[in-house]
C-alpha cells in the first residue's frame, strides 16, 4: 500500500450512558507520523463514519492539555490504562482497542467519572493548613532540597487514575481509596507545616479502605505515567501508621 494511504484501525468500545450496554464500533483514520490516540479521535470527530461507511456519532472522551500533564484523557488502550494524548500510534499494535477505564463508572463512551479520587483527597486531608492567604511577615520554613525533590516527584501526580485502574484491589464495590491518594497523604506529611496534620492523615489511612486494603501487588507503580514510586511511599506510610498505632494504644 502506498505510504499516503496507510490507515490506522481502531476498535472502540462505546456506551451511550452509565447504564447502557456497551457495544463496539470500528473506525479507520489516515496515518501520519507522530499521530496519537487523541489526534485520531479528533479526526473521527470531523468525519464520524465507521469503517463500514455507517454514519455514527463522534466518540465521547475527555481531554484538555494534550501534553500528559492534566490527567484527563486516561483510557484503556490495548488493555493498558494510559494517557491517550501521549499514546503514539507508532508504538501500538493494530487494531488499536480503546475502552473506558471501567474501574470507574462510565459516563459515556471513553469518558469516566473519577470524582472518587477527588473525594479521597478530602479524606486524607490533602492540603497544608495555612492560617490564610494574607501576608504573615514571615518566610515559610526552609526545606532540605533532598526532601523537596521527593515531594516534587509525588506532587506531579495528575489524578489520572492509571494506578487505580491497574490495582487489583480498587473497584467500584471496594472501599479501598487506592494508591494515588495514599501517596498524596505522604506528600503533605513531608512538608514542614503539612506535617502538623500527619497524625490525622495516618489515622484516616488506618480506617477501613485505607492502607490495610493494599495487597502489595506492585501493579500501581508500573502503571504510573509519572513514574511516582508509589509502593515505596505506601511502605513508608505503613511504617508510619504502625508507629502511630502503638502511640494511639498507649494514649488510650
Amino acid at each position: 500500500m502506498a505510504e499516503t494511504k496507510k490507515k490506522v484501525h481502531f476498535i472502540i468500545e462505546r456506551q451511550d450512558g452509565p447504564n447502557s450496554q456497551p457495544y463496539t464500533e470500528e473506525f479507520e483514520v489516515d496515518y501520519r507520523p507522530a499521530l496519537n490516540v487523541v489526534a485520531s479521535l479528533m479526526e473521527i470527530q470531523k468525519n464520524p463514519v465507521t469503517k463500514d461507511g455507517k454514519k455514527t456519532t463522534a466518540v465521547v472522551w475527555e481531554c484538555n492539555c494534550l501534553e500528559k500533564v492534566c490527567g484527563a484523557c486516561m483510557m484503556v488502550i490495548n488493555g493498558k490504562a494510559q494517557q491517550a494524548c501521549a499514546a503514539l500510534i507508532d508504538h501500538l499494535e493494530q487494531p488499536i482497542r480503546l475502552t473506558a477505564a471501567r474501574t470507574f463508572p462510565v459516563v459515556r463512551d471513553l469518558m469516566i467519572d473519577r470524582s472518587v479520587m477527588f473525594e479521597s483527597l478530602k479524606k486524607i486531608h490533602g492540603w497544608v493548613d495555612v492560617d490564610g492567604t494574607w501576608e504573615v511577615h514571615n518566610d515559610a520554613p526552609r526545606q532540605n532540597p533532598k526532601t523537596a525533590t521527593i515531594a516534587y516527584e509525588i506532587s506531579r501526580c495528575m489524578t489520572c487514575g492509571c494506578c487505580m485502574d491497574a490495582c487489583p484491589n480498587v473497584n467500584q464495590s471496594s472501599e479501598f481509596i487506592g494508591p494515588a491518594p495514599m501517596a498524596q497523604a505522604h506528600l503533605f506529611n513531608l512538608h514542614p507545616i503539612g506535617e502538623y496534620q500527619k497524625e490525622e492523615r495516618l489515622d484516616a489511612l488506618m480506617e477501613k479502605g485505607g492502607l490495610a486494603s493494599c495487597g502489595n501487588s506492585q501493579n500501581c507503580v508500573q502503571a504510573c505515567p509519572k513514574e511516582i514510586k508509589l509502593t515505596e511511599y505506601i511502605a513508608k506510610l505503613n511504617r508510619d501508621t504502625n508507629k502511630q498505632a502503638l502511640r494511639n494504644l498507649f494514649n488510650k
Binding site: 456519532t57 492540603w127 523537596a148
Partner: protein, 583 residues
C-alpha cells in the same frame, strides 16, 4: 445572609479569587469545564516572576516593573503593573507556605532562573511543571474550604451567559451540566469570569483544548468591552501537531540550540546570518518573524512545510540531559524522535492573548456586577507579555478581583435581585437555543469548520499582518459565521453531548475571531506582538492608546475605538533588544 459570588473558571486566577472570597466570609459557586485541578494553568512549565533578590544581583521591584512596562511596549496600565510587581514576592511566600514544591538551592532557599526580557534572575520554578504545582496548591486550599462548606463546585458545567436585572446589573448566570445537559440559571451578588485565554480561536496553539474564549465572547455579545484583542503572543518554538502545538521552551536556544533550514542543499543558519549580534537568541517576536519569513515568503521550510530545524544534536548528550532533560522528553514522547540525535522540527505558534475583557483597576468590567481576572482580562501585559509574568498576573488579579467582588456584594448598587420568573426566562432562552442547535441538519461539520477558522486566523492574524489580507480574512471569517447556520448535528443524545456544546462554543469563537481581526486591521503601527510591514515602527502619537472593541448587535461585528490608559509612571522610550535596556 452570606454573600454569594459566582466564579467561572478554576485556573490560577479563579481559585485565588475563590480563596479571598471565602476568607472574607463569602460563599462561592465555582464553575468549570473540568475538575479545576485539570485547568490549563497547569501547562505552564517555565516559572513565575517575583523579585526575591537572592542571587546577589541587586534585583529590585522597580526593575521588575520597568522590564514589564518595556517588554509590553508601553501599552499596559503602569499603576496596575506596579501593584502586581510589589505583590509578587508576597505571593511566592504564600505559595511556599501552602506547600508548592519550588526547586530549591543547596541551602534550602527558593531557586531562581533567568527568563526572557529581564537581566536578573527573577523566575521561581518548580522543576519543569511550575504551573501545575501552583495550581495544585490553590486547588488544595479551595478543597479545604469546600469541606467547610464555603465552596460549591460545579465541575463539568459550561458557562453560557450572564443574567442582568432590570437595572442592567449582572446578578447571575446561566450554565449547562455537560453530562445531564440540564440548563440552569443561578443567582449571585457578583460574578467573576476567570476563564483563561482564547487560543482555540486559532485552532491549534500551545494551550489546552478548553481555552476557547467562548465565555469571553458570550459576555462581549452581552455588552462587555474587550481591550487590546489584537495582541496575540506567538512563541517561536513549538512542535507543530495536528492536534496541538506543543511548546518547546526557550531554554533550548539558551543552551545552544541552532535554528536552520536547507537552502541550496546546505544548512542555512538564518537567525545567525540575519542577526549576527544575537543569533539564535533574538527575542520571541523577532525569531517568530524570521522563521515565518523563511517558510512562508521564501518557501524554504522542511519538505515545503511550515517547519524549521531546532538543532541540539551537536551538544553532548550528558550536558543536554542535565540542562534540558524534562523538556526533551516531551519531544521524544510526542514526536517519537530523540532530539539528542536528530534536529527537532519546530514552528512558531499562537501562545497567549495579552488582550481580553476590559477591566478597571479593581477588575470590574463595564457591566456592573461582572468582573474579570486572569488571562481573560487585558490588564497587565500591554502589547507583549514577558515569560513567567502571566502566572503572576493570573494569581495576582485573583487577589484583587476576589476582595472587590465581596466589596461590591456588600456595598455595590446591585439593584433588584433576580426574580424566579427572570431566572426561568433566562434559562429557557438558553435551553431553546441549545435545542435549536441539536435540531440543525445542514451539511457542515462543526469540527471541520473550526479547522478552517483556525487555518485562516493562523495564516492572516498572527506573526505578520497585512491590511489587505486582514480585510480578506475578516470577510472569510464572516462567511464561516454564515456557514455556521448550515451545521448538521449528528448526535441528538440528551446525555454528555459534546457535539452540541461544541457548536455553541464555535459560534462564540467565530465572533471573537472577528474582534481580533478587526482590531489588528485598525492598528496601523507595529508594537510588541503586533507587526505590520506597511507600518514597521511604533506610533505613540496615534496609537499609544488601548483598543476597545464593542459588539454591534446589528452587524454582529465589533466597533473599534481607542482610549487612554494610565502611563503616569515611566515615559515611553524605544524598545530595542539589540542593545541593553536603558532607563
Amino acid at each position: 445572609m452570606k454573600k454569594k459570588i459566582i466564579v467561572v473558571g478554576g485556573g490560577l486566577s479563579g481559585l485565588m479569587a475563590t480563596l479571598k472570597i471565602c476568607e472574607a466570609g463569602g460563599e462561592v459557586e465555582l464553575f468549570s469545564y473540568c475538575p479545576v485541578k485539570r485547568s490549563h494553568s497547569l501547562c505552564a512549565q517555565g516559572g513565575m516572576n517575583a523579585c526575591m533578590d537572592t542571587k546577589g544581583e541587586n534585583d529590585s521591584v522597580h526593575e521588575h516593573f520597568d522590564d514589564t512596562v518595556y517588554g509590553g511596549d508601553f501599552l499596559a496600565d503602569q499603576t496596575a503593573i506596579k501593584g502586581m510587581c510589589e505583590a509578587a514576592p508576597k505571593l511566592i511566600k504564600m505559595f511556599d507556605r501552602m506547600g508548592v514544591t519550588f526547586t530549591r538551592t543547596p541551602e534550602g532557599l527558593l531557586d531562581l532562573r533567568n527568563f526572557g526580557g529581564q537581566k536578573n534572575k527573577r523566575t521561581l520554578f518548580s522543576g519543569s511543571t511550575t504551573g501545575q504545582q501552583l495550581l495544585y496548591a490553590l486547588d488544595e486550599q479551595v478543597r479545604a474550604w469546600e469541606v467547610k462548606g464555603a465552596v460549591k463546585k460545579y465541575e463539568f458545567w459550561e458557562f453560557i451567559k450572564i443574567i442582568k436585572n432590570k437595572e442592567n446589573v449582572c446578578r447571575g448566570i446561566v450554565a449547562q451540566d455537560m453530562n445531564s445537559m440540564e440548563v440552569r440559571a443561578f443567582r449571585a451578588d457578583t460574578v467573576i469570569l476567570a476563564t483563561g485565554g482564547p487560543g482555540m480561536v486559532f485552532g491549534r496553539c500551545t494551550a489546552s483544548t478548553i481555552c476557547n474564549g467562548s465565555a469571553v465572547s458570550a459576555v462581549y455579545q452581552q455588552g462587555a468591552l474587550i481591550g487590546n484583542p489584537e495582541f496575540i503572543q506567538i512563541h517561536p518554538t513549538a512542535i507543530p501537531g495536528s492536534d496541538k502545538n506543543r511548546l518547546m521552551s526557550e531554554a533550548c536556544r539558551g543552551e545552544g540550540g541552532r535554528v536552520w533550514v536547507y537552502k541550496d542543499g546546505k544548512p542555512w543558519y538564518f537567525l545567525e546570518e540575519m542577526y549576527p549580534a544575537y543569533g539564535n537568541l533574538v527575542p520571541r517576536d523577532v525569531a517568530s518573524r524570521a522563521i515565518y519569513d523563511v517558510c512562508v515568503n521564501q518557501k524554504l521550510g522542511i519538505n515545503g512545510e511550515n517547519k524549521v530545524y531546532l538543532d541540539l544534536s551537536h551538544i553532548p548528550a550528558d550536558y543536554l540531559e542535565r540542562k534540558l532533560g524534562g523538556i526533551l522528553e516531551i519531544y521524544t514522547e510526542f514526536v517519537g524522535d530523540d532530539p539528542r540525535k536528530v534536529p527537532m522540527q519546530i514552528y512558531p505558534s499562537v501562545h497567549y492573548s495579552m488582550g481580553g475583557i476590559w477591566v478597571d483597576a479593581k477588575h470590574n468590567t463595564n457591566i456592573p456586577g461582572l468582573m474579570a481576572s486572569g488571562e481573560c482580562d487585558y490588564q497587565y501585559h500591554g502589547a507583549n507579555r514577558l515569560g513567567a509574568n502571566s502566572l503572576l498576573s493570573a494569581a495576582y488579579s485573583g487577589t484583587v478581583s476576589g476582595p472587590e467582588a465581596m466589596r461590591w456584594a456588600k456595598e455595590g448598587e446591585k439593584g433588584s435581585e433576580l426574580t424566579d420568573e427572570e431566572l426561568a426566562k433566562a434559562a429557557k432562552e438558553c435551553r431553546d437555543e441549545y435545542e435549536a442547535i441539536l435540531k440543525m441538519s445542514g451539511s457542515e461539520n462543526a469540527h471541520e469548520l473550526h479547522h478552517e477558522l483556525g487555518d485562516l486566523m493562523n495564516q492572516y492574524v498572527t506573526i505578520e499582518r497585512v491590511n489587505k489580507d486582514l480585510d480578506y480574512c475578516f470577510d472569510e471569517v464572516k462567511k464561516i459565521l454564515k456557514r455556521w447556520d448550515n451545521i448538521g448535528i449528528v448526535d441528538k443524545a440528551g446525555w454528555a453531548n459534546q457535539e452540541g456544546m461544541f457548536a455553541r462554543q464555535l459560534r462564540n469563537m467565530i465572533l471573537y475571531a472577528l474582534v481580533v481581526t478587526k482590531a489588528a486591521r485598525m492598528r496601523d503601527e507595529s508594537r510588541g506582538a503586533h507587526y505590520k510591514r506597511e507600518f514597521p515602527t511604533r506610533d505613540d502619537e496615534r496609537f499609544m492608546k488601548i483598543t476597545i472593541a464593542e459588539y454591534d448587535q446589528a452587524t454582529e461585528e465589533p466597533k473599534i475605538s481607542y482610549d487612554d490608559f494610565d502611563h503616569s509612571l515611566v515615559k515611553p522610550r524605544p524598545r530595542n533588544y539589540a542593545v541593553a535596556k536603558k532607563e
